[in-house]
């Protein structure tokens, strides 16, 4: 029977095919007192070896060398002598094979988390190894990405970073998850690969493997009960649409030539190189041959400088920072780069900052507020940006995260201008800043709205919270109202106001944002072409009409419906 499941559309596009579920982690049975330690040990080691062999085989088949190397390293970990030692100690202490593996992985997981930074990211490798090895011991289906031997729609509770490494874009047509929110890993991955995705979609995990569905990643709808014929037709049309997409060229503009700068969100100069080359990493895995290598952005709207700081016990040195910023300033199209100063704090702890723990870090010392305690970190960063700009002969735009009051804006602007930085701005992520956007612009040259955090604080909903995903939907009218107020303040002051949250990557919402009056949209590379197409298909008057409709809607679903073309 036909049924429509609704969730949050986080990556636009249509797809249709049969669903296959990712097997969840195997549940551990109640611990059994091991009767024969030697047998438990040999079973545990056999399971780890089988896991290592399976990962090594996947590494061989990996679609690209990056994925292959990650899998190879993971297979290496499954054979790690340190892991074997822990398993043996656990078995000798009386654990059965499954619990010995579980406890050993947990032990090493903690050690990696303590190392912090990108070392901590390997903790998920251990989860994967644990799940696979325990499944082998218990004789349960191997968890991980299914492999039905034909393209399919992947269904999961949620996707962990380690799951996504194995995703073959030639085989996965769309992503559907029961949990997750607009900023979840699934959402980010899906947009980066231009895969249609619906998250927080209740009931999707209950679909039987092999069920035909169609997916609308913009509306957040999953239709079941369609036949193979209908699915094939939908999929054929989706591929044809995607081929046509990205046909518009040049700077972002509406159909009546109202300019809207389309900018990139990046973490380092490497991100620019990855998007600049038509023969980039994604090219071989691009079955439809869309060749979206050249994204032709008009610069960088959000350069997150955190990557330099993430894995440090000591702050990165001045020279190192200068080199990193200079590389980005030189690589960016037109030299236009908006550099965001360090966005860290107790919510995203960096060991070297030495900030005390606090009970509610999202409401505590984060973003610009860190400079209340460690002003020298920001000063060094501003010095390095100024030096990099001189070396590159560029005019960087510099903005601070989590600015809340006009006083903070004035202080930041003073410190930046003292170093010769001429374009100084702030992220609007806090409702207080949005409400006083006009006053902020007395002190600043531009504003950039971070929709993820602005949603979090406006709706009092943790941005990672799957249960509250509906409140975090960027189509919420209260969020759009705050954006409208900021844009109006920008127009009154004759200063640019952009959006650099993921909301900017939704082609339909982009028309609403333009109608509200924002002057630039910044997003990850794969979203640029669809957003450019969408703007090119709407006049400024239509964008304004869309903005009025969305602001007037009672909820995000109604807003999408009212604005939806046709």
């Amino acid at each position: 029977m036909a049924e429509t499941l609704r969730g949050l559309g986080v990556s636009p596009g249509r797809a249709a095919g049969r669903v296959y579920r990712m097997a969840g982690p195997p549940p551990l049975p109640a611990p059994a007192r091991a009767v024969e330690a030697d047998r438990e040990l040999s079973e545990a080691l056999r399971a780890l070896e089988a896991t290592a062999a399976e990962l090594a085989a996947r590494a061989e088949r990996a679609p690209d060398s990056t994925a292959g190397e990650i899998l190879e390293a993971q297979s290496f970990i499954a054979r790690d002598p340190g892991l074997y030692e822990s398993v043996e100690a656990n078995v000798r202490a009386g654990m059965d094979a499954a619990h010995a593996i579980d406890a050993a992985c947990a032990h090493h997981r903690r050690a990696l988390l303590e190392a912090g930074g990108y070392f901590a990211e390997r903790a998920s490798d251990l989860d994967d190894i644990r799940n696979r090895a325990v499944a082998v011991v218990l004789g349960l289906p191997m968890p991980g990405i299914p492999d039905p031997g034909h393209p399919f729609v992947l269904v999961a509770e949620d996707l962990a970073p380690a799951d996504t490494v194995n995703l073959d874009p030639a085989l996965v047509l769309a992503l559907l998850t029961e949990k997750g929110g607009p900023t979840s890993h699934t959402a980010i991955l899906a947009r980066a690969r231009a895969l249609p995705a619906v998250v927080a979609c209740r009931g999707v995990i209950g679909l039987d493997d092999g069920t035909w569905v169609s997916v609308d990643g913009a509306r957040g709808e999953v239709e079941t009960g369609i036949g193979e014929e209908a699915a094939t037709e939908i999929q054929r049309r989706a591929v044809a649409d995607r081929r046509r997409s990205g046909t518009s060229r040049g700077p972002g503009r509406t159909s009546d030539d109202h300019p809207v700068k389309l900018l990139l969100n990046i973490g380092s100069a490497a991100d620019l190189r990855a998007t600049g080359s038509p023969a980039g990493r994604d090219a071989p895995a691009d079955p439809a041959g869309e060749g979206r290598g050249d994204v032709a952005s008009e610069g960088v709207g959000l350069f997150r400088t955190e990557f330099l700081f993430l894995d440090r016990r000591e702050p990165p040195g001045y020279e190192e920072q200068v080199a990193a910023y200079e590389a980005v300033l030189r690589a960016a199209p037109g030299g236009h780069v908006v550099i965001r100063t360090l966005d860290a704090g107790t919510d995203k702890p960096l060991p070297f900052l030495g900030l005390p723990e606090e009970p509610n870090p999202a409401l505590g010392v984060r973003g610009l507020r860190v400079s209340r305690i460690r002003p020298e970190v920001l000063d060094t960063q501003l010095d390095a940006i100024a030096e990099a700009a001189r070396a590159a002969g560029a005019e960087p735009w510099v903005m601070a995260p989590m600015v809340t009051t006009a006083g903070e804006a004035a202080d930041f602007a003073g410190r930046a201008r003292a170093r010769g930085i001429r374009h100084v701005g702030a992220m609007v992520e806090v409702p207080a800043a949005a409400l006083r956007a006009g006053r902020l612009l007395n002190e600043l040259d531009f504003l950039s709205i971070g929709t993820n955090d602005l949603s979090q604080y406006t709706f009092a909903s943790d941005r990672q919270h799957g249960e509250l995903a509906d409140l975090l939907d960027p189509w919420q009218a209260a969020l759009l109202q705050l954006i409208a107020d900021c844009a109006a303040a920008g127009q009154a002051a004759g200063k640019p106001v952009g959006v650099c949250g993921e909301a900017a990557a939704d082609p339909l919402l982009a028309t609403v944002l333009v109608g509200l009056g924002v002057s630039s949209l910044s997003m990850s590379a794969p979203s640029i072409a669809p957003v450019r197409d969408s703007l090119a298909a709407h006049s400024l008057a239509q964008c304004r009409q869309n903005a009025r409709l969305a602001l007037g809607a009672d909820d995000p679903a109604q807003a999408r419906k009212l604005v939806m073309p046709g």
Binding site: E69, I70, A73, D80, P81, H108, G116, R122
Partner: protein, 94 residues
């Protein structure tokens, strides 16, 4: 006990590809080699998990030690490996 102190040169530190190359090379030595950061605990250099947990980034000083016949040669070859930017070599590999 023979020791060698060396500064990690790879841009991703002892992580990803450099960690894998180092651990593989350590496992091939005829003697057990250990590695530590500063005054920290020495861990087996043939354990990827132990090496990752060191959290050594580019610029971190690490000390290798080994004992027995061939220890000096083993330390020399592993120290040489750590003093190269293995990430850059990957880029050259294309």
């Amino acid at each position: 006990m023979p020791e060698r102190t060396v500064v990690i040169a790879s841009s991703s530190g002892l992580h990803a590809r450099p960690a894998k190359i180092f651990v593989q090379a350590a496992a091939k030595q005829g003697v057990p080699v250990r590695i530590r950061v500063g005054d920290g605990k020495s861990v087996p250099a043939n354990s990827m998990l132990a090496v990752l947990a060191l959290g050594a980034v580019r610029g971190t000083e690490v000390t290798l030690d080994a004992e027995g016949p061939g220890a000096d040669e083993a330390l020399a070859s592993l120290a040489e490996l750590l003093s190269r930017d293995l990430d850059a070599e990957e880029a050259l590999d294309g």
